[in-house]
C-alpha cells in the first residue's frame, strides 16, 4: 500500500503549474472555513450539513412511527402529522440525499480525474451557501406560528393555493426548495465543466471511474430537471401572492399542469438520487472484489440510457389522474429495467471469481444490492398501470420508495462513507463498530419496510395519522415501528465510530483498501490542489496498475483474457502489457499464446513467469514459447 508513496518521486511533474492568486493574507479559523473555495472543504460542508438534515428527518420518521405503532393513537395531532411527513420527505429528498451526492461529487470527482479543483471554485462555494440557506429556511417553518408546510413533498395543487394553505411556513418551503434547486444546478454546471475540461493527461473519457461517469450523467439530469421545478414553484408563488390562477381550477387554472411540471422534475430527481449511489456501489464492489468493473463500457452505456429514459417517464406518477397517455409511459418505464438489469448483471459479474473481501464498505454495498433488487422489483410492478391503479397511494408505494431510497441509496451512501472516510480524514473507521452499524441498519430497515408491502396490499393508505383497529393492520404496524427504532438506533454506533476514529492517532495512509482509481494516489486527506504527482494513466485503474505491475488492467473488451497474468518479471512484464495496451494487438496475443510474445520481446519471459501466479489462466500461460 505504501508502494504508492515509494514510487512518488518517479512521476513528479513540477512543471505542471497551477495559477493561483490569493488575495490578501491567508485566512484562519472560522474565516478560513467561510472563505474556502477548496472543493474538498466544500464537499465536506455539503456532506456534513446534509447528514445533519438526515438525522433531523430521521427523527421525524421516528415520531411518525410512534404515532402509527398502535391504532387510534393520538401521540401527535393530525396537522402535526401532516407537517411531519411533509418535512420528513422534503428534508430527505431536497436537503439530504441530493446534496449528499453533490458533496461526494465535489470531493471526489476532481480527485478521480486528476484535477486540482473544480472548474469554478468560487461559484462552487456560492452554491454551498445557497444550499445551507435552503436548509435553514425550510426547517425554520416549524418556528412559525402556523407551522411548517403540510402538503406532502410534491406539493400538489390546488391544496397549495393560499386559501387552503395559508401562512409563511408554506412559503418558506417554496423558498427552501428554490435555494436547494439553484445550488444543485450550479453544482451540476461545475461537475460537467470539470469533467469536460480538467481531466489529467491520459484520462480519456472511457477511463474515468464509474462513479465520476454517474455523477456526470446525474449532472445532465439536474440541468434538465431543476429549472422546471423552479419554474413550477415560481408559478405557484404567483398563484399564492399575485392573484394569478395557473393551478386554480375555480378560475380555469389546471392542477394537472402542476403535476406535469412537478413530475418532469420528480422522476429525473429520483435518478439524481440513485445514479451517484450506483456509482459508489460500483467502485466499492470493484475494489473489494479486487477486479476491474466487469463490462465497464456496458456500465457506462447503461447509466447513459437510464439517464435518457428517465427523462421520458414522468407521468407514471400520474396514472390514476386518468389524464395521461398510459402506454407511452408504461413502455418507457419498463424499458428502464433493461439497463438497470445490465447494471445488476455487471455488479454480480464483478464479484464473480473475484477475491471478495467482506469489509464494512462491501457489506453496505451488498446490502444495497439486496435492498435495491426488492425496490426495483416493486418498481417494475408499479410501472404497470393495472397494478398501480390498485395500490397507488397505499403503503405498498411507501415500502417501494423506501426500499429504493433508504435500502438502496442510503445503504450505498454508507458504503461510500466507510470506503472514503480514510481519504477524507486520514483515519479509518473501526471495523467492528462499522459491522455493528451495518447489521442493525440492515435488520432494522427490512423489519420496518418489508411489512409495509403487505400493509399496502391490505389497503392501508399512505399519509394517514390514525387508523381504526381490527383491519388486520395492527401487528404489521407494530412490527414496522419496532424496526424503525432499530434503524434509528443503528446511528449510534455509527456516530460513535466517527467520533472514536477521528480521535484515534492511527493513520490510514494514502491507500488503505488497495483502491484502484486515481483518488487513492493522493495523500489522505489530499494536499491543497490534490496531487503532488500523478501516475501514468493507461486504464481505468491507474493506481492498481502502478501497485500491481504484474497484473495490469487490460484494455476494454478483452475480459476474455482478464485472468492472464503477465508474470512477475517486473519491468519486462510491465513493458509487455504497456505495449499491448497501446497498439491493441497485445491483448489478442495473450489468447493465442506464442503469436503475440514475438511482438514484445521482454514480455515472453514475463509471461512464462506468470504461470506461478495464482491468477494465471491455465492454457495460455503454459503455451508460451
Amino acid at each position: 500500500m505504501t508502494v504508492v508513496q515509494e514510487r512518488a518521486g518517479r512521476y513528479e511533474a513540477p512543471e505542471r503549474r497551477l495559477v493561483e492568486v490569493v488575495p490578501g493574507p491567508r485566512a484562519r479559523g472560522v474565516l478560513a472555513y467561510v472563505t474556502s473555495t477548496d472543493h474538498k472543504q466544500i464537499g465536506m460542508n455539503y456532506m456534513v450539513t446534509s447528514f445533519i438534515m438526515f438525522l433531523i428527518a430521521g427523527f421525524m420518521a421516528v415520531l411518525m412511527r410512534v404515532q402509527l405503532s398502535v391504532p387510534n393513537n393520538n401521540f401527535v395531532d393530525l396537522n402535526t402529522y401532516n407537517q411531519l411527513f411533509t418535512m420528513h420527505g422534503s428534508l430527505m429528498l431536497y436537503l439530504f440525499l441530493g446534496p449528499f451526492a453533490f458533496g461526494m461529487a465535489n470531493y471526489l470527482v476532481p480527485l478521480q480525474i486528476g484535477a486540482p479543483d473544480m472548474a469554478f471554485p468560487r461559484f462552487n462555494a456560492f452554491s454551498y451557501w445557497l444550499y445551507l440557506g435552503g436548509c435553514i429556511t425550510m426547517t425554520s417553518g416549524f418556528l412559525t406560528s402556523s407551522g411548517a408546510a403540510n402538503w406532502g413533498w410534491f406539493a400538489y395543487a390546488p391544496l397549495t393555493e393560499s386559501i387552503y394553505s395559508p401562512g409563511p411556513g408554506a412559503d418558506l418551503w417554496i423558498a427552501g426548495v428554490v435555494l436547494a434547486g439553484f445550488s444543485g444546478i450550479f453544482t451540476a454546471v461545475n461537475v460537467i465543466s470539470t469533467v469536460f475540461t480538467l481531466r489529467a493527461p491520459g484520462m480519456i473519457m472511457f477511463r474515468m471511474p464509474i462513479f465520476t461517469w454517474n455523477q456526470l450523467v446525474t449532472a445532465f439530469l439536474v440541468l434538465l430537471a431543476f429549472p422546471v421545478l423552479t419554474a413550477a414553484l415560481v408559478l405557484l408563488w404567483c398563484d399564492r401572492h399575485l392573484g394569478t390562477h395557473f393551478y386554480d381550477p375555480t378560475h380555469g387554472g389546471q392542477p394537472i399542469l402542476y403535476q406535469h411540471l412537478f413530475w418532469f422534475f420528480g422522476h429525473p430527481e429520483v435518478y439524481i438520487l440513485a445514479l451517484p449511489f450506483f456509482g459508489i456501489a460500483t467502485e466499492v464492489i470493484s475494489t473489494f472484489s479486487r477486479k476491474p468493473v466487469f463490462g465497464y463500457k456496458g456500465m457506462v452505456f447503461a447509466t447513459l440510457s437510464i439517464g435518457g429514459l428517465s427523462m421520458g417517464v414522468w407521468a407514471h406518477h400520474m396514472y390514476t389522474t386518468g389524464a395521461v397517455l398510459l402506454p407511452f409511459f408504461a413502455i418507457l418505464t419498463l424499458l428502464i429495467s433493461v439497463p438497470t438489469g445490465i447494471k445488476f448483471f455487471n455488479w454480480t459479474g464483478t464479484m464473480f471469481r473475484g477475491s471478495v473481501r467482506l469489509d464494512s464498505p462491501m457489506l453496505f454495498a451488498l446490502g444495497f444490492l439486496v435492498n435495491f433488487l426488492v425496490g426495483g422489483f416493486t418498481g417494475v410492478m408499479l410501472g404497470q398501470p393495472p397494478i398501480d391503479f390498485q395500490v397507488h397511494d397505499t403503503y405498498f408505494v411507501v415500502a417501494h420508495f423506501h426500499y429504493v431510497l433508504l435500502g438502496g441509496s442510503v445503504f450505498a451512501a454508507f458504503a461510500g462513507i466507510h470506503y472514503w472516510f480514510p481519504k477524507f480524514t486520514g483515519k479509518k473507521l473501526d471495523e467492528r463498530l462499522a459491522k455493528l452499524t451495518f447489521v442493525l441498519m440492515f435488520i432494522g430497515f427490512n423489519l420496518t419496510f418489508f411489512p409495509q408491502h403487505d400493509l399496502g396490499l391490505r389497503g392501508m393508505q399512505r399519509r394517514i395519522a390514525v387508523y381504526p383497529a381490527g383491519q388486520g393492520w395492527d401487528f404489521l404496524n407494530m412490527l414496522s415501528s419496532i424496526g424503525a427504532f432499530i434503524t434509528a438506533f443503528s446511528m449510534l454506533p455509527f456516530l460513535l465510530n466517527v467520533w472514536v476514529s477521528l480521535r484515534s492517532s492511527k493513520k490510514a495512509g494514502p491507500n488503505p483498501w488497495d483502491g484502484m482509481t486515481l483518488e487513492w494516489a493522493a495523500e489522505s486527506p489530499p494536499i491543497e490542489h490534490n496531487f503532488a504527482y500523478l501516475p501514468p494513466i493507461r486504464s481505468e485503474r491507474p493506481v492498481w496498475d502502478l501497485n500491481h505491475p504484474d497484473h495490469l488492467t487490460l484494455p476494454h473488451g478483452r475480459h476474455r483474457n482478464q485472468l492472464v497474468t503477465v508474470g512477475t518479471g517486473g519491468t519486462a512484464g510491465q513493458a509487455a502489457v504497456r505495449a499491448g495496451a497501446g497498439n491493441g494487438g497485445g491483448g489478442d496475443g495473450h489468447a493465442d499464446g506464442g503469436g503475440a510474445s514475438g511482438q514484445t520481446g521482454g514480455g515472453a519471459s514475463g509471461r512464462a513467469g506468470g504461470g506461478g501466479n495464482g491468477h494465471a489462466a491455465p492454457a495460455q500461460g503454459g503455451e508460451g514459447p
Binding site: 511533474a13 473555495t37 456560492f126 435553514i136 418532469f264
Partner: protein, 129 residues
Amino acid sequence: MKFEWRLALGTAAFLGVAGLVYWVWSGEFAGTVMLGFGGGAYALLFGYILLQALRRQHIPRVEDRPDANPEDGAGEIHFFPGNSIWPAALGLGAVLAVVGLAFGKWFWVIGGAILLGAIIGFGVEAESR
C-alpha cells in the same frame, strides 16, 4: 472532445425525438414543451462544445490522448482562486432575497443590497486576479 459533444448531441436528439413522438401520440402540451425545450437547451450545449472542438481540432488535448503522460500536461492548467469572502456574501444576499418570497419587501431590500455589494466586490476581485 469527441465524446463530450456526442454526449450533448445524444441527449438533445433523444429529447427531440421523444418530444416528437409524445406530441404526435398524446397531443398533450406541457410534456411536449418541456421535452422540446430540454432538447433545445442541450442542442445549444452541443453546438458550443462542437465549436470548441473544431477550433482546436489539430491539437488533441492531453486528456483526450490515451498515451499521454503526466509530463505532457506541463504548463498552465487553469486559474484557481484562493480564499474569497464574496461567495458567502453573495449567498447571504441571495438567500435573504429568496426568503423574501415568504416575508416580503424588507428582505428584498436588504438581500438585494447585500447581493449588489457582493457582486461589485466579486467583480473587483476577479479583475485584480
